[in-house]
């Protein structure tokens, strides 16, 4: 478990190391290599209307028994829709102030989106029943999802550097759109990949019958909490030498329909914050480490998860800003560590599943965006001087959300 965690951290931190190292490299040479002003392809796609898919359809695509027809429909939808959405992201970048667009990190991501758009675009005009290319398409998608994994940290770094060139409102609007769109694109892409692979591999499909693509219809919050808590505990012990106990109570046997990777991201973020605050606070006051309590509720409309800690709370001044991008209460320490593990685990401690965010302040806003994506919410209550309660409310992905558009 720890090896996997370290590998994860290593990969993430290496990509950050690359990002951090390149921050001063000049990139004039590549100024003209992304999109020519006269290239109409992007505009062509970006001005097409988005065809949102409802959650109901997304689930229906993958409802067993998987039929040739529904898979074809799903693949066709992804092939025609994704280039449009990617093109819109490219346009969004093109609308950033010029100086911001020349920032190397932001440019990196811009280039990535353009290339992704470019590589998928040729699939979009293929006829619907061209099954041969579906597998190839799925492989391409997988590759792209992989390459886009660290978008957020890179963007975070870029925007931090551009703070004086862009006002907060515009930056927030760009990032909100960006992240919201990204979640949707990934959802469609991963659902498609998962279904195509499932249809080619029947036995695996039978094993995980509770899954419809990347949606798990019998997701157990308690299991995910345990999993994330274990991860956070190891990270904490590595970083601080000790970790708080996680107490899980409430409706521990309940299950609901949700996207596991979303839940995992949110919980890891919240448990990390709780653990970090708890341990640092206890050490500061030379007291024994109190536990972190996680309670689960299964209500008629939603699932509730409350993370309760005694980590000292959030100061009123910080409270209004914790959900802002690039706002962080983490102090930037100079890293003079000789121990490679401590460096990485410290980074990981301050990071999200999406990559090291070394105190760049994206963890909470991102987690909240995930919570809100399917109509849920995240609320933080601070008893300043004592601790925090964070309430995560997630709607069941079921018939009632059927009309929700992705």
């Amino acid at each position: 478990m720890l090896i996997r965690a370290t590998q994860l951290c290593l990969r993430r931190s290496l990509s950050t190391a690359r990002v951090l190292k390149n921050s001063n490299v000049s990139v004039e040479a590549s100024q003209n290599d992304v999109v020519s002003f006269y290239d109409a392809k992007v505009i062509n796609y970006a001005t097409r209307p988005i065809r949102p898919v409802t959650l109901k359809e997304l689930i229906r695509f993958g409802q067993p028994p998987l039929s040739e027809q529904s898979l074809t429909q799903c693949a066709h939808y992804a092939r025609t829709e994704l280039p449009v959405r990617l093109a819109m992201r490219v346009r969004a970048f093109q609308n950033l102030p010029f100086i911001v667009g020349t920032n190397p990190h932001i440019k990196d991501i811009y280039r990535l989106y353009f290339e992704s758009f470019d590589s998928l675009e040729k699939y979009s005009d293929l006829p619907e029943n061209d099954n041969g290319s579906d597998l190839e398409f799925a492989e391409k998608l997988k590759d792209l999802v992989e390459r886009h994994a660290d978008n957020i940290p890179t963007l975070a770094r870029g925007f931090l550097e551009c703070k004086k060139y862009m006002n907060t409102k515009d930056m927030t609007a760009f990032l909100d759109d960006m992240i919201h769109a990204r979640i949707g694109i990934r959802l469609i892409a991963e659902q498609c990949i998962s279904l195509i692979h499932a249809s080619k591999n029947e036995s695996e499909d039978q094993r995980r019958t509770s899954y419809i693509g990347i949606i798990n219809t019998q997701l157990s919050p308690a299991k995910v909490i345990h999993h994330c808590a274990d991860f956070v505990t190891e990270l904490c012990e590595f970083n601080y030498g000790e970790a708080p106990e996680f107490i899980i109570n409430g409706h521990v046997d309940t299950t609901f329909t949700y996207v596991p990777v979303h839940l995992e991201y949110m919980l890891t973020e919240l448990l990390k914050n709780a653990a970090r605050a708890t341990v640092e606070n206890a050490k500061k006051n030379k007291k024994p480490i109190p536990p972190v309590e996680v309670s689960i509720s299964h209500g008629s409309r939603d699932i509730g998860i409350r993370v309760r800690d005694q980590g000292g709370g959030v100061k009123p001044n910080d409270l209004n800003h914790i959900f802002e991008y690039s706002y962080t209460t983490v102090k930037n320490e100079e890293t003079e560590d000789s121990n490679i593990f401590s460096g990485i685990t410290r980074l990981a401690m301050q990071s999200g599943v999406g990559g090291p965010i070394a105190g760049l302040g994206f963890g909470l806003p991102l987690a909240r965006m995930y919570a809100r994506y399917f109509g849920g919410s995240m609320t933080l209550l601070s008893l300043n001087g004592y601790g925090c309660d964070v309430f995560l409310k997630l709607k069941h992905i079921d018939e009632s959300l059927g009309q929700l558009e992705i």
Binding site: S300, G304, P316, F323, S377, L381
Partner: protein, 410 residues
């Protein structure tokens, strides 16, 4: 409509003529002067005859102005609401009080002050009728006014009512102290300078437990924990905090007791403190609040029980002790909104969050430095902005204040 409504219409101290309202205008044009606890304490500490007389005159003019503002609020209600017999009765009461105190001559001697205090006492007693009447009016007017508007009206009314009681009771108390030359230890009027969070909590726990025991035959375990040391003292009006804690604890204990396996339920009261605030959290695992009920938690006009029970309750006390004396098993439905008004009065907050199927958590923040002015009116908030707040049903924050929250972020 009651048979004698025609008669009642003319039997009033309210202005019979539209033009008589001018007398009100003069006072509405004057602004209220909010106090802070520090100011009240400072003033009350070094009492002399002259200062007492000054205080009496301050109370006289200030209450007149505050009453005038509220009467104006009544006048802005939709006409049909204003004709509701209950609302109308309160409106008349307000006019009577306004005229009485407006026409009272300036106080010049200690003897004048004594008479003035009698008047104040009378007004305070009359005021006890206000809440039940308003509640009955509220439920009858549901169709005629937007819930958000009515809630705003009610909050302003209750806030102002507390404010008038505060300055009246404060004056009565310092008069009494001045006369007897006996100082109740630590008290400056009705402000106790040595409030201790833990002691107040323990008392409220005991009282609310008893209350539920009386009405339901059993109670549940209430644990007090948290970081507040016994010696953390601050200046406040204890009844305000006690009202809130009593309400929250009673709700939690009662809901716990009504659960199927109530022996396993516990209520937890956590006390916390920092340099600027005292914080309380009442936590239960009594099953939580359903979405439909939660949406109307702070509303006066869409409470599930429709306030019908108010018909049986003529007088409703504004202090915890008074409430406790009343019929113990009456669920009146005003407790939570009133608690919020009390919490926000000196710049604090009250929030309630719930996990449907599991339990409920209520959070109270009380400023402890005594430097927050009374939160009196909502005039500065745009009507439109106010009515948009009704759909943040998930969240009950510092209600109607434009100040950023020091408790919640969402």
């Amino acid at each position: 409509m009651p048979a004698n409504w025609q008669q009642r219409r003319h039997n009033t101290a309210a202005p019979k003529s539209f033009y008589h309202n001018e007398v009100l205008d003069r006072y509405v044009d004057q602004s209220v002067n909010p106090n802070t606890i520090r100011q009240l304490v400072f003033y009350g500490r070094h009492m002399t005859d002259d200062r007492l007389i000054d205080s009496a005159n301050y109370v006289r003019t200030e209450i007149t102005i505050r009453l005038a503002h509220r009467i104006r609020d009544f006048q802005k209600l939709p006409f049909i609401v204003g004709t509701n017999p209950h609302i109308e009765r309160i409106y008349r009461m307000y006019w009577e009080a306004f005229e009485k105190i407006r026409q009272y001559p300036a106080i010049k001697t200690l003897e004048d002050n004594e008479h003035f205090c009698d008047l104040l006492n009378g007004l305070l007693d009359d005021g006890l009728f206000v809440i039940p009447e308003l509640a009955l009016g509220a439920t009858e007017c549901t169709g005629f006014i937007a819930p958000a508007s009515f809630d705003r009206f009610m909050n302003t009314m209750l806030r102002s009512r507390i404010s008038r009681r505060v300055i009246a009771e404060q004056h009565l108390a310092i008069t009494a102290n001045h006369n007897t030359a006996w100082d109740e230890e630590g008290y400056i009027g009705i402000i106790f300078t040595r409030c201790c969070a833990r002691e107040m909590a323990e008392m409220c726990v005991a009282l609310s437990s008893q209350h539920v025991l009386k009405s339901h035959g059993r109670t549940v375990n209430v644990i007090i924990d948290g970081s507040a040391r016994n010696e953390a003292v601050f200046a406040y009006i204890p009844e305000h905090i006690e009202y809130i804690l009593y309400e929250l604890l009673t709700n939690s204990i009662r809901h716990s007791v009504e659960c199927e396996n109530s022996e396993t339920k516990t209520v937890r009261l956590t006390i916390a403190q920092n340099k600027t605030d005292i914080l309380f959290r009442v936590s239960d695992n009594a099953g939580g609040i359903s979405n439909e009920v939660f949406k109307t938690l702070w509303s006066y006009s869409s409470a599930p029980n429709d306030f019908k029970k108010f018909k049986n309750i003529k007088k409703m006390g504004g202090s915890m002790a008074e409430r406790e004396k009343q019929a113990v098993d009456e669920r009146l439905g005003f407790g939570l909104p009133m608690s919020k008004v009390y919490a926000e009065y000196w710049g604090g907050e009250l929030s309630v969050l719930t996990m449907d199927g599991f339990g409920t958590d209520a959070y109270v923040r009380i400023p402890r430095l005594g430097n927050q002015a009374e939160n009196l009116t909502l005039d500065e908030i745009d009507e439109a902005e106010y009515s948009n707040r009704s759909d943040t049903a998930l969240l009950s924050t510092n209600g109607y204040s434009t100040r950023p929250s020091a408790l919640v972020s969402a």
